[in-house]
């Protein structure tokens, strides 16, 4: 049982979290300009890296999404941050 750090609640049991997505994927849009294969790759293509991985998880009990950097082999949690949203992305 892993312990994940929620940036808002602190360290919590992994059963309180859900995996949301691999981080760093950009949603291709607008839809009419996106090919079928690009969309399929966005939806279903996962890198599933061995070792260091950046993932988005959600802490179900507080509803906050977080950016988790962890090692998929050793299960070590390397870093955690709140999602920036569009404040930083500038849209």
């Amino acid at each position: 049982m892993q312990i994940f750090p929620c940036p808002f609640c602190g360290p919590r049991d992994e059963t309180e979290f859900h995996f949301a997505a691999e981080a760093g994927k950009h949603r291709p849009e607008p839809a009419p300009e996106v090919t079928d294969s690009a969309w399929a790759d966005y939806l279903y293509g996962a890198d599933a890296p061995k070792g260091r991985a950046q993932e988005v998880w959600v802490h179900l009990t507080c509803g906050e999404f977080l950016l988790l950097t962890r090692d998929t082999v050793t299960r070590e949690v390397l870093d955690v941050a709140a999602l920036p949203g569009s404040r930083e992305a500038g849209t």
Binding site: M1, H18, D36, W39, V58, E64, F65, G85
Partner: protein, 936 residues
């Protein structure tokens, strides 16, 4: 009969005899006995029958490694299968039954043993797969296997699940574990010291010894006191059975009531000791052949002596104290040592050097041994083939092993797991060395505890592939040396293949006394070294753990607790029968479903709609967020109005439907389906936090803050007037919403309908709900209205073709399949799931679409398949909802059918469990298709 009770030895309470039965015969043991010691002292040798050949088997070991002595134990009306005799304390009135036989001493299936040469590894698979496994499986299952489950037995679900944290977790309270715990506690650390046995001390308990010049017991007692004084705990009868991620360990504590522990430790010392290996000669599984270590254990702790005429066969110094103690207890002891260079013969023991056993003799128990051409009469044979360190938890935690020829063992490779091994678990045998290693592992500074005595010399002992007769490698799964040879011949040479082909080490003892022999035999057969041959993967649990312990109190109503309505007592008082709907306990029926559904159409129906989701979306960014997350745009909705919409997944599949209310420019309430509220909230939150400025919009689930009562039917408006609700409520038109007050209480009213009749959803803060309900119920009574349960509501919505997401849709249903294609065709902006609505799959003309079904007679079975009337039979879809409509006086149904809308008017076959019927495809809405009843 061979075992007997010594008149003085042992730590049992001879003033407290305990009665028990074994296979129906009565016996007596004493308080302090285990099942194993009580049976041994009672002289019973055949304790069970083997898994495959029904060979008679007896006691082998002293702890969790015991492969043979398993019992179904009945006591106080509860029967527990497969209890390990060595770990189960004897209690008065226990009823023991041998496993895999009706009676251990006489088993007609023992004849199977004569057919053994026709039953090699892989026999069942090779023979019966061809002949149809299904036909043979029940018979084979009756003949093989372990304990019996009593289906009527419901053991109590009362095992507490407890969590703990500590600075240092010490696994095993033998000398190394005690030294580690003592060193760490001395420095103020919080130490948890665990042991599988009933008391600390490990092998010291039967081997004895002096530490720091005093009796070991003083050292152990003092250590326990130090651990407790520093805030730690010592748990005995506790098996640490699993190492998990992030330093979590799981332990099973046995007692009058078990406890399940989850322990997180900053540091862990593995001092789990070692397990004695057997020796490999013909008939080495006969009852009466026992681990030498175990014989000493049972003698010293319980006064249970294994036999009277005893042969000890060994290749290491550790067996000499065993021979000595048995001789002193009055046995005639011959010690056969495989080595020429041996310790001195203990007093009263005849030692024969360079002697190995070729075969054991006896029918249902040991009678004699053959060693180097000599015949020695014996009722008991104690064997020691060396010791295998208990490295399971190190390996579970990801650790690797190294072969150490000097220690003749696979030992933990340093630094490959977070566990620090110490003592025999690390292949370090001998008291003084174990104390020193434990002391260092516990972080001790200064001199380690000190003990006299030399380390043991151990000569490697191996199975001889050329040996004659039937040589058992894994007694619990009945794997012989011949099976290992066969596996090698057939190319199953990797240990993982060997394990799967022969089932070696896959029994409930996890091959603790057998894996090494299988590995060594394969290494001899293939000419590879032991490290080249490799080891199998170690996985939790280390020992079988009862499901009652894992499940704890999560049973019945606590397994997945239902959400409860604030007005549940009031509904109960109205005579409601409750059912589970989407995680809520809700009224299913009040009196009669058909009468309720009919009454709601004719006059007035009331129902509790509180579980309906109420997700507030607030702020200047609210409309933008809802537009992106929803299939139907909400930014164009005017304040005070409601609009039906869908939420999709990014894969375009419908995730939920519901009505969105706009209360003002920057405030919406999204009515998610009651079972989808959490999911919808997460879709909104993810977009809010990832795509938008989270400071401009908030998402707040207030579902349980409000109680919602729905009033529906031709008399609904009259009911509201009778109840005295304000004019801005009664004058609402369809799809309008208002926030107002009833008396001083906030009231939100929405003209939204799930029945097809004019309906008002009335929401008040939960604490005001009882008073509000009383008033509405008074109006209902005056107008002859009805409370309607969920079952009646299901009929009303199905008559109208209103769907339930997840019931009338499945994992591929897109909005256009439900007849909602306008946003897909018209919207130019980005929304969640948009691109997926235009894939080749989404554009297919023959997609499975929602339709209604018209049929004669009784309602169609839900789940029935729709099939072509002629041509090859194939499923064109299935019935999703089906009811008898009391208003239409006929069956109504909804279905998902391939190209369903193009088939309108067609007749299809309906196939269910061998029954054929027919039905006609029609529009989903069977009642008031023009919607005139809503317009009121």
């Amino acid at each position: 009969m061979s075992g007997w009770r010594h008149p003085t030895l042992g730590q049992i309470d001879r003033d407290r005899p305990l009665r028990f039965t074994f296979d129906g015969e009565a016996y007596t043991g004493y308080a302090g006995d285990t099942l194993a010691s009580a049976l041994l002292a009672s002289g019973i040798r055949v304790l069970g029958r083997s898994f495959k050949y029904h060979r008679p088997r007896g006691l082998w070991g002293l702890g969790g490694e015991e492969p043979n002595a398993l019992f179904d134990v009945g006591q106080g009306g509860i029967s527990t299968p497969n209890c390990r005799a060595t770990l189960t304390p004897l209690r008065d009135g226990m009823d023991l039954r041998a496993v895999n036989t009706r009676k251990a001493s006489r088993d007609p299936l023992g004849l199977l043993d004569l057919a053994q040469r026709f039953l090699p590894a892989g026999f069942y698979y090779k023979t019966f797969m061809a002949g149809g496994w299904m036909r043979w499986e029940p018979m084979i299952r009756r003949m093989a296997g372990l304990g019996r489950l009593d289906p009527s037995n419901r053991p109590p679900g009362d095992v507490p699940q407890r969590n703990a944290r500590c600075d240092l977790l010490v696994i095993g309270a033998g000398p190394a574990g005690l030294a580690a715990a003592r060193a760490a506690a001395g420095q103020g650390a919080t130490v948890w010291l665990l042991d599988e046995a009933g008391a600390p001390g490990g092998a010291l308990r039967w081997r004895g010894g002096e530490i720091d010049g005093g009796p070991w017991r003083e050292f152990a007692d003092e250590t326990v006191q130090r651990v407790q004084a520093a805030g730690g705990r010592v748990l005995t009868d506790t098996t640490l059975w699993g190492a998990f991620d992030h330093g979590l360990f799981a332990a099973w504590q046995r007692g009058a009531r078990d406890t399940h522990w989850r322990i997180w430790a900053a540091r862990v010392v593995l001092a789990a000791g070692a397990i004695e290996r057997p020796l490999w000669f013909a008939n080495n599984d006969l009852p009466g052949i026992i681990s030498a270590e175990a014989a000493l254990h049972h003698l010293v702790l319980y006064g249970a002596v294994a036999g009277r005429r005893v042969v000890v066969a060994t290749g290491n110094d550790g067996s000499y104290p065993v021979a000595s103690a048995l001789a002193e207890a009055g046995c005639r002891v011959t010690l056969l040592d495989a080595r020429e260079d041996t310790p001195e013969a203990p007093e009263g023991v005849e030692v024969r050097r360079g002697a190995r056993i070729d075969a054991a003799r006896g029918a249902r128990g040991l009678g004699a041994v053959n060693a180097g051409g000599q015949h020695i009469d014996a009722d008991t044979l104690l064997v020691s083939g060396g010791y295998t360190p208990s490295v399971h938890l190190h390996c579970q935690a990801g650790g690797k092993l190294d072969w150490d020829a000097d220690r003749d063992a696979l030992i933990p490779r340093p630094g490959t797991s977070a566990l620090i091994p110490a003592g025999a678990a690390n292949g370090t045998f001998g008291l003084n060395a174990a104390l020193a290693e434990g002391h260092a592992a516990g972080g001790g500074t200064g001199p380690a505890p000190n003990a006299a005595g030399a380390t043991w010399a151990i000569a490697p002992m191996r199975p001889d592939p050329k040996g004659k007769g039937r040589v058992w490698i894994d007694p619990q799964n009945d794997v012989t040396l011949k099976d290992v040879k066969l596996a090698a011949q057939e190319g199953y040479r990797s240990v993982e293949h060997l394990k799967r082909y022969t089932t070696l080490g896959m029994a409930t003892d996890q091959g603790r006394s057998s894996n090494f022999a299988g590995l060594a035999a394969m290494s001899e057969l293939t000419g590879h070294t032991i490290p080249e041959t490799g080891t199998t993967t170690y996985r939790p649990p280390f020992t079988p753990v009862p499901l009652t312990s894992l499940g704890g109190m999560r049973r019945g109503g606590l397994f997945n607790p239902l959400k409860r309505l604030a007005l549940e007592p009031q509904h109960a008082a109205l005579g409601a029968t409750f059912g589970e709907y989407g995680g809520w306990r809700r009224p299913a029926i009040y009196s009669d479903t058909q009468a309720e559904a009919k009454g709601a159409r004719e006059t007035l129906g009331l129902y509790d709609a509180s579980p309906l989701g109420k997700i507030e979306v607030i702020g200047p960014g609210a409309a933008e967020l809802l537009d992106f997350c929803g299939y139907v745009a909400m930014s164009t909705l005017k304040p005070g109005r409601a609009r039906y919409g869908f939420m999709l997944g990014e894969n375009g599949v419908v995730a939920d439907d519901g009505v969105t209310l706009r209360l003002d420019d920057n405030r919406f309430i999204l009515s998610a389906s009651s079972s989808h509220v959490d999911h919808v909230r997460l879709i909104l939150e993810e977009a809010r936090q990832d795509r938008f400025d989270p400071s401009r919009v908030f998402v707040h689930d207030v579902t349980t803050h409000w109680v919602t009562l729905s009033v529906t039917g031709p008399q609904a408006r009259m009911a509201l007037e009778t109840a005295g609700t304000p004019g801005d409520v009664t004058t609402l038109r369809h799809m309008q919403v208002v926030e107002t007050r009833w008396k001083h209480i906030p009231l939100r009213a929405a003209r939204v309908s799930f029945t097809g009749d004019a309906s008002w959803e009335l929401s008040v803060p939960a604490r005001h709900a009882p008073g509000f309900m009383t008033v509405l119920d008074g109006a209902r009574e005056a107008l002859d209205g009805h409370w309607i349960g969920l079952e009646a509501l299901m009929i009303l919505r199905a008559e109208k073709g209103y769907i339930l997401i997840g019931k009338d849709t499945d994992g591929i249903t897109m909005p256009q399949d439900l007849g909602w294609s306008r946003p897909r065709e018209r919207r130019q902006d980005e929304y969640f799931g948009r691109r997926a609505l235009f894939t080749p799959e989404a554009m297919r003309k023959d997609r499975r679409q929602l339709v209604g079904l018209d049929c004669d007679g009784a309602p169609l079975p839900t789940g029935a398949h729709l099939v072509p009337l002629d041509g090859p039979a194939r499923s064109l879809g299935f019935v999703t909802s089906s009811y008898h409509s009391p208003t239409l006086n006929r069956a109504v149904a909804l279905a998902l059918v391939d190209a369903g809308r193009d088939r309108k008017g067609d007749t299809l076959g309906v196939f269910h469990l061998g029954q054929h019927r027919t039905a006609r495809i029609c529009a989903p809405c069977a009642f008031d298709p023009e919607g005139t009843r809503l317009a009121d």
